[in-house]
């Protein structure tokens, strides 16, 4: 572990801000679940860095279902999120995304805030968050602001957050009747793997099964989660027949600029993006029909 420096675990957003002010000018890192950050610190990153642990602040830890929105704390653990039956009914795909992250042990710690701000192109929690069209409450020295989730990640390991800023919570709309989402990822092993490709589909269908709204977001094929708008375009106003879904998959398999790395070749990622897009749309469509 690199040389030590301060650590704080404030019990309120304001207390957090005073700590941030006290360390301004010095390097600061936000500690949510820590399942990425601690590995990076052990590898020598972020020496002499102040740590702000946000796991003791009500707003960042709670999951609240309100009449017209859902609020998920940025530091709420995946195990809490997956145990929330109401949330799983409203956003099955969103919960599937974070449920994929790591093992049971990782689920006890991993958070949406950490997963998003670590900004890995293959992050499992991010596609469904973006596909849900959610926003996030950003807290920092210059006060609070609300931004669409899709604007946070700007590249591998990079976010749009300023110095001393952190995400306190995610705000998602209550899905309209006939809406549902789904998330699938592909990994060689059944568990404990980084996504070769991940696909979130979030769509609405009317009474006779025609798609009225669609959002498809694909992870691990571009520097950040890719909003596949032309896949969505191919679905809207269409009955979600196998032919249409195959066409959507075909489009998806041409998108992005996937890398060839130790987890897969770019050609393979293209193919799998197509396969998973078809499967995710099919699952989301079936769920949406039942959600009338």
């Amino acid at each position: 572990m690199p040389s030590a420096s301060t650590y704080s675990r404030p019990s309120s957003l304001d207390e957090a801000l005073t700590f941030i002010q006290s360390t301004s000018g010095k390097a600061l890192k936000i500690l949510a679940g820590g399942t990425d950050l601690l590995i990076q610190m052990r590898a020598g990153l972020y020496p002499d860095t102040a740590l702000l642990d946000i796991k003791n602040i009500p707003e960042t830890m709670s999951i609240t279902i309100e009449p017209n929105q859902v609020r998920i704390g940025a530091a709420a653990a995946a195990s809490e999120i997956c145990a929330n039956i109401q949330l799983r009914q409203l956003y099955p795909g969103l919960v599937e995304g974070i449920e994929y992250i790591g093992s049971t042990q990782i689920q006890s710690r991993a958070t949406f805030g950490g997963n998003l701000c670590n900004a890995s192109p293959a992050a499992d929690g991010v596609p469904a968050l973006i596909a849900a069209g959610g926003t996030c409450l950003i807290v920092g020295p210059e006060g609070r602001r609300i931004n669409p989730i899709s604007t946070i990640c700007t590249g591998p390991g990079e976010t749009a957050l300023g110095q001393g800023e952190f995400i306190a919570e995610f705000i998602l709309p209550i899905p309209k009747p006939g809406s549902a989402d789904a998330y699938l990822r592909f990994t060689p092993r059944n568990e404990m793997d980084i996504a070769v490709v991940g696909v979130a589909a979030n769509l609405s269908v009317d009474a006779d099964g025609t798609c009225t709204r669609a959002q498809v977001v694909i992870g691990a094929i571009a520097p950040t989660a890719l909003v596949a708008s032309d896949v969505a375009a191919c679905l809207v106003d269409q009955p979600l027949t196998p032919k249409i879904i195959d066409k959507a998959g075909e489009i998806a398999s041409q998108l992005g600029s996937p890398l060839t790395d130790k987890r897969g070749t770019s050609e393979y990622r293209h193919q799998i993006a197509g396969v998973l897009t078809k499967r995710a749309i099919k699952i989301a469509a079936e769920r949406a029909k039942k959600a009338h």
């Binding site: 572990m1 690199p2 040389s3 030590a4 420096s5 301060t6 650590y7 675990r9 500690l31 820590g34 399942t35 601690l38 590995i39 610190m41 052990r42 740590l51 642990d53 796991k55 653990a77 195990s79 790591g102 093992s103 049971t104 042990q105 990782i106 006890s108 710690r109 059944n190 568990e191 404990m192």
Partner: protein, 160 residues
């Protein structure tokens, strides 16, 4: 190295220790508190040999800082047996020869304990899914899964 004073409940007993702000809970347990039953296999959260229960949740202690344990309840393998009595999981692992070298056994027993406290009647698949964060290279997992299922039925009061 600035050290912080941490108070926790460890295996049911109030416990205090000093630890550096960058020291992991795993290193704290092993080097400060001399509890070497929790093992390090990778220090990157990929093998599960360092599993402890943190507020009842199976957690990799290599991915938690010692300072994060302030005010928390920690259970390690050393706390699984109770007042001289083995836990049904420990008995089942012995009876099923569910360990060979034994280095992954503490982490798996602690993780399985968390499973059975929340899923008293798990299916084989559920046990395999729950324990997929605990690598074992000797057994091929077969007898481990049998042992966890046996312990579950024993804890439900069913005769083997």
């Amino acid at each position: 190295m600035s050290k912080q004073h941490i108070t926790t409940t460890l295996n049911g007993e109030p416990t205090e220790f000093l630890c550096d702000t960058r020291q992991t809970l795993l290193d704290t347990l092993r080097n400060e508190l001399r509890l070497t039953g929790t093992k390090e296999g990778c220090a990157t959260g990929d093998c599960g040999a360092c599993t402890v229960l943190l507020d009842g949740k199976a957690t990799c202690s290599c991915l938690v800082l010692g300072v994060e344990a302030e005010g928390k309840d920690i259970q390690t393998i050393e706390g699984v047996a109770h007042e001289g009595e083995l836990h049904p999981l420990q008995t089942a692992f012995l009876n099923n020869a569910a360990l060979q070298c034994g280095v992954c056994t503490p982490g798996i027993i602690v993780a399985a304990k968390a499973l059975l406290e929340t899923h008293p009647n798990p299916t084989e698949k559920e046990v395999r899914y729950w324990l997929s964060g605990n690598l074992c290279r000797c057994t091929g997992y077969d007898k481990i899964i049998h042992a966890v299922m046996d312990a579950a039925s024993a804890m439900r009061g069913e005769q083997p």
